[in-house]
Symmetry: C2
Subunit: 401 residues, 2 copies
């Protein structure tokens, strides 16, 4: 018998997705995902921070959850308490913050404690692919609400809540990315934030506020978080460090009161979030956050302008998009009838990668003519060249006149 290869196909869980293709490297013109600007990674700052933290107590590394316990190390949570107060208007405390391994894990944990198969959640019609995928994997139902320049449409939301209630359905949450929405880049108006809280109270449905991008407003004062307006534990608030420092730092966070926090902890089975990341980022940000974020915002704004100009030059009137007030994406509409999924492989063959809109849509077909472009990673030259190449490919494929 030895020598026969084991047949795993008959052993695998029968609900697995199709396996991915083997990884073959990054595309030359890379507009996908949430990659960030390499010139904005504070490499010298990280060396300085490492020098500081690795001269500290070695039990931070030799022990599980040495400093601060299972919710994350104290200096990083303290940084968040301060930053959320000064930048987002949120009044919170160390006890209400949970550090997670990226905000993806924050979404996973919140879904884990709230969702069962067959549950209903409310989402924005276009939204973060990772959040939508997580909800789909759990076989929960999504009710999609339109998003315009001022964020989620509150009349539609009120109507949806009313309809669901009349059918005896209480949604588990309203998932929103109010500030620099992903992918549309819109910012919800203050009026709508207040209205959403009222609706949350009226129907007893929590708001799941994802502020992954809120730090990346290009300039000026901007809208406070919905969580800052909430005095009744109605808002579960999450955020990320991946967008301000780079996704190599796998750090996100959840703000929630103990009733919810204790449940999150009961499902956080990862033996703690990476402490090296936490220590280095806490030290760097406690010393350099303000200067870093100003530099980052300015750099992103420049690249955003370049991408917008490149699109206008190469695509002319064949694309529609709104230049956002911040963030790292343009949400671009191709001519009606074009299916961006069909353009993906032809573009990749020419070294150009973009995200087809359907991955960022509760109803994939509703976003068939959209693409999402991330402008943070490529250099200005790469943006110009990449967009030109993309237009060539799209033209060759008959997607543009």
């Amino acid at each position: 018998m030895p020598g026969n290869t084991l047949d795993y196909n008959s052993l695998f869980n029968r609900n697995l997705p199709a396996p991915p293709a083997q990884w073959t490297g990054h595309p030359k013109y890379n507009f996908i995902g949430g990659h960030s600007d390499p010139d904005m990674v504070p490499m010298e700052g990280f060396i300085e921070a490492a020098g500081n933290v690795f001269r500290g107590d070695p039990r931070n590394i030799s022990m599980y959850n040495f400093d601060g316990g299972p919710q994350g190390i104290t200096p990083l949570r303290q940084f968040l308490v301060d930053k959320l107060a000064s930048h987002r208007g949120i009044n919170t405390s160390l006890d209400e913050i949970l550090i997670t391994s990226g905000s993806g894990l924050a979404i996973e944990l919140i879904n884990e404690i709230l969702l069962e198969e067959g549950d209903t959640v409310i989402v924005e019609e276009f939204s973060f692919s990772g959040a939508l995928g997580n909800i789909r994997r759990r076989k929960a139902n999504m009710v999609a609400i339109g998003v315009d320049h001022d964020g989620m449409n509150m009349d539609q939301l009120a109507q949806a809540l009313e309809d669901l209630q009349s059918r005896g359905v209480r949604p588990k949450y309203i998932y929103t990315i109010p500030t620099l929405q992903n992918p549309t880049g819109t910012v919800m108006s203050m009026e709508r934030r207040f209205r959403m809280l009222d609706l949350s109270a009226e129907y007893g449905v929590p708001i799941f506020e994802d502020e992954c991008y809120a730090d990346l407003i290009f300039e000026g004062e901007y809208e406070n978080a919905i969580r800052s307006l909430d005095d009744s534990n109605r808002v579960l608030h999450i955020g990320s460090f991946s967008k301000t420092l780079g996704p190599g730092t796998r750090l996100g966070y959840i703000v929630a009161q103990w009733e919810v926090m204790s449940r999150l902890l009961s499902r956080k089975n990862d033996a703690g979030t990476g402490v090296l990341d936490q220590m280095i980022v806490a030290d760097y940000f406690n010393n350099h956050y303000e200067e870093h974020i100003l530099k980052m915002r300015a750099a992103l704004k420049r690249k955003c302008d370049v991408l917008a100009s490149a699109l206008r030059e190469s695509f002319g009137p064949n694309v529609e998009f709104e230049v956002p007030r911040g963030g790292m994406y343009l949400w671009v509409k191709l001519p009606e009838g074009v299916d961006s999924r069909a353009l993906n492989m032809p573009a990749l063959r020419e070294g150009v990668a973009f995200n087809p809109g359907p991955d960022w849509s509760a109803d994939p077909d509703a976003a068939a003519s959209y693409i999402r472009l991330c402008f943070a990673l490529p250099s200005e030259t790469e943006i110009w060249e990449g967009v030109e190449k993309m237009a060539e490919v799209f033209r060759k494929e008959g997607a543009l006149p």
Copy 2:
């Protein structure tokens, strides 16, 4: 309506475990978990490594999976290829290694791709609590096999496989910690390793080999991994960096061929394992592994001897244990009839923490009279004092004559 607090109890997933108590700090005499020796954390080495890696390409941080793609960064996987060859006899390649956020996530991923509710797995009667808990959470059945000085009992294993086959049950895997078993500290003989592979082939059941502790053999040559004897993809092999560097570094790994690797990747939804950890550990270990591990082993051996002496002094003939060839635990048997779970809180009140045996047992009651003690974290003085205090408490509670 606003002002009413939202009632989350009616929203939570109904299958959640009880929420934990709020964290109140670490115990003074800490013999629990897999904490490691603070004096053995190479803090200066980490500063040097950080200086090296943060002078490298910033795209390691600004991009998801920049160097090496979703399986982990190349230098860390190369270190593992080399170490597994030189220390564990395993002939593998970069393509067969997946870096995970701790070996707990390795177990999670393997279970995720193989297990469904109602499946059967084979485990050692005493085994890693995290693995047992993960299997239980998935509502899979466990068949427990005895462990003696030479590891898992192969006659019992053969019998169990035969019995299961006769009932039409094909177990999904045989989970074993062959080298410095957790909690018993035993090392499976080479003869049994060969026999296990034969049984795996005969019954078409993979071996899930967990070698989290194998690097921590105190001295001399020792048994190669079961994976090193396997030419037919029968063994899924995992390991960890938490035990050689400290659990603050959340890094583990899986060795598996593409058929399995591709499925693991399809379920690895964490956007990559923390790159700062990977970079620093890869640089440090590529330069200093051999000297580090020798120092670590010697330090652990000293503490192991201290704990054994302290137990003999404070408990005398009332405890039985075998001094292991390595690792960081003693698996200690209290007098028959004692239930270690009942001693947990009284000891904690005196500042002494140990792991009750039942958490490390497929059948909790079968390990009622056992406790697991980790000797890596406490200082020699703390070991002496802690064990004395523990004996006092146990005596006061009537567990010792």
